[in-house]
């Protein structure tokens, strides 16, 4: 992300971010990641609503895990009413 470091004259003032937060992949430090068993998923979207980091994506048909941004908190697995989300190491 920071391959081209800019000088103080080249960046916006006030620490305002000038890149999209999606460019900054923040999911590399979680020991456990959610894995969704799509055969059991009822598409209730509770995981999509509750994920504090928008690391569950709903494409209109299925929910997907976005491991690039997941911090591994496990809220999704804990709250899933049909227990189709498991937290797996890696």
């Amino acid at each position: 992300m920071l391959s081209e470091l800019r000088s103080w004259k080249e960046i916006p003032i006030g620490g305002v971010a000038w890149k999209l937060s999606t460019e900054n992949k923040t999911g590399d430090w979680s020991p456990f990641k959610p894995r969704i068993d799509q055969t059991k998923c009822t598409k209730c979207l509770i995981c999509w609503i509750l994920c504090p980091d928008m690391a569950i994506e709903w494409d209109g048909e299925k929910v997907h895990e976005k491991h690039d941004y997941c911090k591994g908190c496990g809220v999704c697995a804990n709250e899933c009413p049909v227990k189709c989300i498991s937290m797996v190491r890696g």
């Binding site: 960046i11 003032i13 006030g14 620490g15 305002v16 890149k19 937060s21």
Partner: protein, 400 residues
């Protein structure tokens, strides 16, 4: 020139100025001796004299937090506090300046606890020395009124975009009824104008106003580590340096509408043309020192006074230039200097002269802590004593 004269104390003068500056959001928490400012201002709102959101909060930390949020939205914002309240705002002071938000805050100077004391000294605002807030110390209620109007223009200038503190001495200025000339509402409104957010360049978005706006979403206050934090701090350093010509210019522009100016905006000298002994002082004590200088000059003594108006940015070039022929300088500090060379104004003055060719004798007088009175006789004694000193002494004026 339109002349409207009112009888106002320092706090009321500030509230009146804020009312005329078309402020959008005021958030504050009461504390002696500041309370009258926001109390008076809330009356203006209740009476329909000003259209502004007044947000009462549970602490000063929250008051400045509200101002930070409102200013980030593009609002013109104001708050006021004193002493412990300012101490509680400490964390947010750096956030306001770091996010480059042009908030104006009135500080009614009051000693810090412990022991608890409600009277004036400058230890509260001097503690904010390195928070990157511009600091203007006023001498009387008239200047408090004038400085608040100037403060919004300085803070919101495109080259500056930093918060400004306007300070008055607790009780001595804040609670003393004085003659204050005010400007008509429309003159002030035209002078300060409407806050215009600066534009910043964001790749993919182009130039956008630096405010929180759902149409052009920006992230304020995100994590900024060893890769860019330093660059952002250098930007702040640059901004406060750039405030120097702005303060000077606005002092002159204000003269055009009011007929009043305060020296060059930074320092205000009296009797310095031929002075051999001079005193540097800020706040209300400057008037007492000036009266003694007049008295001594009438007796043929070559003495002068330099009133310091801005402590941040510190006008080191202006001071060295104004005192270029002075042999002995007394620097008055109304705050402690525990474990240092001397008080904050003294240390800055020493540093300013270290880089100049001349090396006058410079002596520190710490005075007026906790509101201790500094009567004219004491100032006169200081002028008598100054030529006999070696330089480098730290004296306590008026202590038993």
């Amino acid at each position: 020139m339109n002349k409207i004269v009112m009888g106002l104390n320092g706090n009321e003068a500030i509230a009146f100025a804020v009312k005329q500056c078309d402020v959008d959001v005021v958030s504050a928490y009461p504390i002696t001796p500041q309370t009258i400012i926001v109390e008076k201002f809330s009356e203006f709102i209740a009476d329909g004299e000003v259209k502004c959101s007044f947000i009462p909060v549970e602490s000063e930390h929250s008051a400045l937090s509200v101002c930070v949020g409102a200013a980030a939205l593009g609002a013109r914002t104001f708050t006021a506090t004193s002493s412990q309240g300012l101490a509680l705002m400490w964390e947010m002071l750096y956030i306001a300046s770091g996010l480059r938000l042009p908030i104006v805050m009135a500080i009614v100077n009051r000693a810090l606890s412990a022991p608890i004391n409600i009277h004036c000294d400058h230890s509260d605002s001097m503690g904010c020395r390195d928070s990157c807030w511009i600091q203007i110390y006023c001498e009387d209620a008239q200047e408090a009124y004038d400085a608040v109007i100037q403060a919004f223009k300085i803070a919101e200038h495109e080259d500056v975009q930093l918060p400004v503190m306007v300070t008055i001495d607790g009780f001595t200025i804040s609670h003393t009824l004085q003659r204050v000339e005010v400007l008509p509402d429309d003159v002030v409104k035209r002078f300060v104008g409407v806050r215009k957010p600066v534009e910043i360049e964001i790749p993919g978005m182009g130039k956008v106003p630096m405010i929180l706006d759902p149409e052009n979403p920006l992230t304020f206050g995100s994590l900024d580590l060893y890769d860019y934090y330093f660059e952002h701090k250098v930007q702040q350093h640059e901004a406060i340096e750039k405030s120097r010509p702005v303060i000077r210019k606005i002092n002159d522009e204000y003269y055009e509408i009011s007929g009043r100016r305060y020296g060059d905006g930074f320092i205000d000298g009296y009797g310095l043309e031929d002075a051999e002994v001079a005193v540097i002082v800020l706040g209300s004590t400057a008037g007492t020192v000036r009266s003694i200088v007049k008295k001594l000059r009438n007796k043929g003594k070559k003495v002068g006074v330099l009133r310091l108006r801005t402590f941040r940015p510190f006008p080191y070039r202006e001071i060295v230039d104004a005192l270029k022929d002075v042999e002995v300088i007394g620097v008055m500090d109304r705050s402690g200097a525990y474990g240092g060379i001397g008080g904050p104004v003294y240390v800055e003055t020493l540093a300013a002269f270290y880089n100049s060719k001349r090396k006058p004798k410079i002596i520190n007088y710490i005075y007026g802590l906790g509101g201790r009175d500094t009567p004219p006789a004491l100032i006169e004694k200081m002028f008598e004593e100054l030529p006999k000193l070696e330089g480098g002494e730290v004296k306590f004026l008026g202590v038993r």
